[in-house]
């Protein structure tokens, strides 16, 4: 013990000579210090290791989920093959499973929701980040936006079914399409509301981080506020804004409950954005409990795998785009 402590100290202390040349009290004192620094080193190591374990745990978790999904869907992968992805019929009675209508439904609702939400989220971000960073109204607005993210999705579903769907129905009869109310369009509207906070809060913090000397320089050159936003703030923060949009897209892709309640849940391919459809997440939620055949269950799990991979691919593409923004 002692030798190892002294070894530790000799190697790590900044003045090892003092130990050799000092009085007994000084030796005892420095031994105590050595013990303390040994304890410190140990704490450091434990901390570092636990951080590493937590990090590794995340990787194991993601790989574990992916492997589990792949393993459990092996039955449907082997019996249905890759045409699972593009065949259009989902018929549990005859064991014919094609994910295309749901893949299409997921992508349609998510991207439509994204397009609807972007103007709102960017405006909120600019308003809160640049025009009114402080004060009671911006604070209130900020909390309200954050609250939107905190509301459980089933409540959006109820609200959508009770309020939004009738409005959409009368809108549909106004423009002359079959007035069903529920469908891709209603789900996209609900999703758009739900995903605004993600892009808005990230965008707001990005905009408030723009160095003031840049803005001041632009103002000094006689730029108006709009010109500063357009040619300083937006270019400076575009990777952050895009990351926020990507985050909200991820949320839209996986949203289940609210979408299930307003999308109309049909396995037919949607003919227009007002037609009913279905998404992968809501098919899984709907049919999982009563999937009474092994291939059926396996096909549903494969749907989960496809959703997982779609999310991964979209995230990877997003990361590439962000990288390009940042490198410019």
């Amino acid at each position: 013990m002692d030798t190892s402590v002294e070894n530790g100290m000799i190697t790590r202390s900044d003045s090892p000579l003092r130990v050799i040349n000092s009085s007994p009290e000084a030796i005892a004192k420095s031994k105590a210090r050595a013990r303390r620094s040994f304890r410190q080193i140990r704490t450091e190591n434990i901390f570092k290791r636990s951080l590493m374990i937590m990090g590794l745990l995340m990787i194991v978790l993601v790989l574990g989920i992916c492997l589990t999904l792949a393993w459990q869907s092996r039955l449907s992968i082997s019996s249905l093959g890759p045409k699972y992805l593009w065949s259009k019929v989902w018929d549990p009675v005859q064991d014919i499973y094609g994910a295309w209508p749901f893949l299409l439904g997921t992508l349609l609702t998510s991207f439509l929701a994204l397009i609807i939400s972007i103007p709102f989220s960017i405006s909120v971000a600019i308003f809160l980040g640049e025009y009114h960073p402080k004060g009671w109204l911006p604070n209130f607005l900020k909390n309200a936006v954050e609250l939107i993210a905190a509301v459980p999705s089933v409540i959006y579903g109820f609200w959508g079914l009770a309020v939004l769907v009738p409005i959409v129905r009368s809108f549909e009869s106004g423009i002359g399409v079959t007035p069903v109310g529920v469908g891709i369009f209603s789900s996209s509207l609900i999703l758009a509301v739900m995903i605004i906070p993600y892009a808005a809060s990230l965008g707001r913090s990005m905009i408030s981080l723009v160095p003031s000397h840049l803005k001041e320089a632009a103002y000094g050159l006689g730029a108006t506020r709009w010109e500063v936003i357009r040619s300083v703030i937006l270019p400076y923060t575009k990777s952050g804004l895009f990351a926020g949009i990507l985050l909200s897209l991820g949320r839209a892709l996986g949203e289940t409950m609210a979408v299930t309640m307003v999308i109309g849940n049909t396995s037919l391919i949607p003919k227009s954005i007002f037609a009913p459809g279905n998404t992968m997440a809501s098919v899984i939620a709907n049919e999982f409990t009563e999937a009474d055949k092994p291939v059926y269950l396996s096909a549903l799990i494969e749907l989960g795998l496809v959703l997982f991979l779609v999310t991964v691919v979209i995230n990877l593409i997003g990361k590439k785009i962000i990288d390009r923004f940042t490198n410019e």
Binding site: V60, P92, V93, V165, P166, S282, E287
Partner: protein
């Protein structure tokens, strides 16, 4: 010492890492992971508790029956309303003592069993055809052919001559028909599609029967409340809902023509009447399109399923007896709680068939009931 302690850390970290990996592998390997997770819960529950799982349709009735049974006989029953299919897989995995299902077990489910099971009819339910036509005050009459054509998407307007032919004197609007169906897999859909498959050859070949099918037209709603919501909100909508739900929510529902040619209003009495037919010994009979002249045609039994040989695992005779006694009570005294909850009581034919099945249940080869 210091080096030792580092070594220990390293082994600990490595050990934890491998433990995690092996855990994730184990979870990958388990096929029926849901039932596996439940097994500990069911087995770990107190020794006196009878455990069951399955049909959510049965759940309100079972809750009432079980609480009354507990008051009288001091016997707790833990029932998980997880859906018929999940109930059957839990019974197959022997994590529950009885399963409850709105459909008898099919060939594939049977082949997964390790030992034979018996079906005991426990209550009767019905599926009603609800519609939203504010202009129409009279109760609509629907024939099986029209119903199938509507759900196949062949009849698309309410004033179609085929509908009008059965409803003389009723002024039908020219509204477009919006079909509403269940989006979640359910016993209700199973009963309804089984009925349509029986009455329409085209439905049988094009769509077929099952708890989830590929609907040719229409919107899907989750649960009875989802379909009811779509029907209530959409003018011109038609959908199928459980009788109890439709009655409790004052929904309009149609009279359906049965095999004998009579238009029958769905009610507790007409559903019970549907089961007044010759019931086979295994009780696995579908009441849809019943032969009974005053029976509502879209009716069905709901079954409790148990193993025929009750000696399995570490089950005692006492435990098996308590289970069979409970089921015997449910098909006799327990039926009195049905009507108040809008369940149809079992017909006399169904009760005697259930009795015969319960008598055939054995423990170690000997019948449990004398």
């Amino acid at each position: 010492m210091k080096q030792n302690s580092f070594k220990i850390h390293r082994t600990l970290a490595a050990g934890a890492f491998f433990a995690i990996i092996s855990m994730s592998l184990v979870s990958c390997g388990g096929g029926g992971s849901t039932s596996g997770a439940d097994s500990t819960a069911a087995a770990g529950s107190s020794d006196n508790m009878i455990t069951g799982a399955g049909s959510s349709f049965d759940n309100p009735l079972f809750s009432k029956q079980f609480s009354e049974y507990d008051k009288a006989n001091n016997q707790k029953i833990n029932y998980q309303s997880v859906g018929s299919g999940a109930g059957i897989s839990q019974l197959t995995a022997k994590t529950v003592e009885f399963g409850a299902s709105d459909a008898p077990m099919n060939g594939k489910q049977d082949s997964a069993l390790s030992a034979p099971v018996v079906h005991i009819p426990i209550t009767e339910g019905a599926v009603v055809i609800s519609y939203n036509l504010p202009e129409v005050k009279d109760t609509l009459k629907i024939t099986p052919a029209v119903l199938a054509d509507i759900f196949l998407g062949k009849i698309t307007k309410w004033n179609d001559p085929k509908i009008a032919a059965d409803n003389k004197g009723v002024k039908l609007p020219a509204t477009t028909i919006t079909v509403a169906h269940r989006s979640d897999g359910s016993g209700t859909s199973n009963i309804f599609t089984t009925y349509l498959s029986k009455v329409s050859e085209e439905w049988n070949t094009k769509v077929g029967k099952g708890s989830s099918v590929n609907w040719p037209v229409g919107l899907g709603g989750k649960g009875n409340e989802g379909v009811a919501g779509l029907v209530k909100q959409t003018p011109g909508a038609i959908g199928y809902i459980e009788l109890a739900y439709a009655v409790q929510n004052n929904m309009a529902y149609a009279k359906v023509q049965n095999k004998a040619g009579n238009f029958i209003t769905p009610s507790i009495a007409s559903v019970t009447a549907a089961a007044n037919i010759q019931i086979p010994a295994d009780t696995k009979v579908s009441l849809t399109n019943t032969d009974a002249a005053d029976g509502y045609p879209i009716s069905s039994f709901s079954w409790v399923i148990i193993y025929k040989e009750q000696k399995y695992g570490d089950r005692t005779l006492d435990r098996a007896t308590r289970l069979v006694k409970l089921l015997q009570w449910m098909i006799h005294d327990g039926q009195q709680y049905s009507s108040a909850l809008t369940y149809a009581p079992l017909s006399p034919a169904a009760v005697s068939a259930g009795d015969a099945v319960l008598k055939s249940v054995t423990y170690d080869g000997k019948p449990i009931l004398q």
